[in-house]
């Protein structure tokens, strides 16, 4: 009889071991899933810290995933599908830094890279492929944001809500491949 109980216990234990996820994780289907996506396009070697902070705040409030998108201009001499590794050197570092900072604050990140003949073209291609719930962009092209023309285009054409951060002295504070740079006062 004891043997039967032992065997039954082993069987029940095995079944539980099989069905229950390890380490107390919730099953994937039961975990809270991000329901919104916030696109943060950037064009240079860094993004404004204000744009990053705004994206993190909103992502936390809305349980959203941040999608930083590195926009790359392909010179007209090259095909749109050309490899541009030299230009990627800084951009990949920025994506890495954004991911590191955002994840440490409990926000999920999924990065994108998009090529185009101009930043506007790259944005257009990105918006054609994917829909986003919100776009946060810094109107400060010196620090990796977009030019006024491109921001205007985005406001007119983007099929979603666009949050534009106008240039400010605080934009000296940036997220770059080296992490947070600029004065923090």
């Amino acid at each position: 009889m004891i043997a039967v109980w032992i065997i039954a216990g082993i069987l029940v234990g095995s079944l539980l071991g099989y069905w229950l996820p390890p380490h107390g994780h919730l099953p994937r289907r039961d975990r809270p899933r991000p329901v919104r996506s916030i696109l943060v396009p950037f064009s240079g070697e860094s993004i404004s810290r204000r744009a990053f902070d705004a994206a993190v705040r909103l992502a936390k409030a809305e349980n959203a995933v941040i999608i930083p998108a590195f926009l790359i201009i392909v010179p007209s001499e090259l095909s749109l599908e050309a490899a541009l590794p030299t230009r990627c050197t800084e951009g990949m570092g920025v994506l890495e830094a954004i991911e590191q900072r955002a994840v440490s604050q409990g926000v999920q990140v999924e990065s994108r890279v998009m090529r185009g003949r101009a930043y506007r073209h790259a944005l257009q291609r990105l918006l054609e492929e994917e829909s986003f719930d919100r776009i946060i962009v810094s109107a400060d092209d010196v620090h990796g944001g977009l030019k006024t023309d491109d921001v205007n285009w985005l406001l007119a054409k983007a099929p979603t809500e666009v949050l534009v951060l106008r240039p400010a002295p605080e934009d000296e504070r940036r997220v770059s491949a080296e992490g947070f740079v600029g004065k923090t006062s």
């Binding site: 095995s14 071991g17 099989y18 390890p22 599908e81 490899a83 541009l84 994108r112 890279v113 492929e129």
Partner: protein, 375 residues
């Protein structure tokens, strides 16, 4: 029976037109002739530069042959005449040149192979932007795509590669003085290709290319008298790293690719991406979307994305890794296994066992928070 020795091949590598390759080649040929060697010019492009023209006049010139192509008469190197004349040392300028249709070979470097195989030593010239493997990155740097390219093996197989170096500033001075192009072309050249940043980048590329070439030969045990059979294209593979990143169409693959790419940049090693998918498995919309994004990322980074189907991923990965000559595998840290799957040997361990000598690196996922944060 006498075995014909292959000729000695020396390439003068420059960073841009006007860097002085042809002049340097003529100078060394002059010294060889002074030493009593039989030297002839198979083909030279002086581009109307007076110094080069007057220097070349002192050499025997094998006349070019005329070739009709689409109603245009082209003057090409007369390969049969070069082989018949058979000098000890033959000068053949601009090895990346594409021959007119109907000649023995499509490219001039193939003509040079024939000359070398005939036991004739060859001096030749080329600019670094013609190298096939650098074509895309130089087009990106300079905004100018070079149409005439040559395979990297040509440079690797050369017995000697001499870098004809000049500072960008000195090159621009030569251009402005009319020593490179006629005066009516100078302004256009300065506004296009001959920008200081282009020239600086090209010089760096040329210097690095030469260093790489020297390194390959040094590490593969090449010594001065050895010929091409000792320096095959595989020698570069044998001594260098070759990275393979194992991906799946999921958002966390982006980070893995970025990490792998940065490692490949640091190691100056090629990187490939591999996804082994289940046979006949249908992808979800999310996977399709993730795969599209991964393809875009791979494309912009210039890395190859390989998709294979297999029941046994570990066996397929090992097979692909062997084919590619992989020395380093990068993969995401696997999710904890459930139930009976815990009894299986983890993929990383299986790969380490089936691919001795290949390093396997697990890249941690940032989206997995530390345990104390989850509580």
């Amino acid at each position: 029976m006498e075995v014909l020795r292959r000729g000695h091949y020396k390439v003068f590598l420059g960073m841009a037109p006007g860097s002085g390759k042809t002049y340097r080649m003529l100078a060394e040929a002059y010294a060889a002739r002074q030493a009593g060697r039989d030297v002839a010019i198979g083909l030279i492009e002086t581009h109307g530069r007076p110094d080069t023209e007057s220097f070349a006049e002192g050499f025997e010139l094998i006349p070019r042959r005329s070739v009709e192509h689409r109603g245009v008469t082209l003057m090409e190197m007369d390969l049969p005449e070069v082989l018949r004349r058979a000098p000890e040392l033959c000068l053949v300028d601009e090895l990346a040149h594409t021959n007119a249709t109907g000649l023995e070979h499509k490219k001039r470097y193939e003509d040079i192979e024939d000359i070398l195989n005939a036991g004739i030593d060859v001096f030749s010239t080329v600019n670094v932007q013609h190298l096939e493997s650098l074509n895309d990155s130089i087009a990106e740097l300079s905004g100018v795509r070079v149409r005439e390219t040559f395979p990297d093996e040509v440079l690797q197989k050369a017995d000697e590669v001499v870098l004809v170096d000049i500072t960008p500033e000195a090159l621009l001075d030569r251009l402005r003085a009319g020593n490179i192009y006629p005066h009516d072309r100078i302004a256009a050249a300065l506004n296009n290709f001959f920008k200081i940043e282009n020239l600086t980048a090209l010089r760096e590329v040329a210097l690095r290319q030469l260093a790489e070439n020297v390194d390959i030969k040094r590490l593969s045990g090449h010594v001065v008298r050895q010929r091409d059979e000792n320096v095959s294209s595989e020698s570069a593979q044998a001594v260098g790293e070759h990275l393979l990143a194992l991906i799946e169409p999921q958002p966390n693959a982006q980070r893995l690719i970025r990490r792998a790419w940065r490692s490949s940049q640091r190691l100056a090693a090629p990187l490939d991406l591999l996804w082994v998918r289940p046979p006949h498995g249908k992808m979800s919309d999310e996977q399709e979307h993730a795969l599209t994004n991964l393809r875009e990322l791979a494309g912009v980074l210039g890395v190859k994305l390989i998709v294979e189907e297999a029941d046994d991923p570990a066996a397929k990965i090992a097979e692909v890794a062997r084919e590619l000559g992989t020395t380093y595998i990068l993969m995401n840290k696997p999710q904890p296994l459930r139930g009976l799957a815990r009894l299986k040997t983890p993929l990383a361990l299986r790969l380490a066992e089936s691919l001795p000598g290949v390093d396997v690196r697990l890249v941690s996922s940032r989206s997995q928070k530390p345990k104390e944060e989850q509580a």
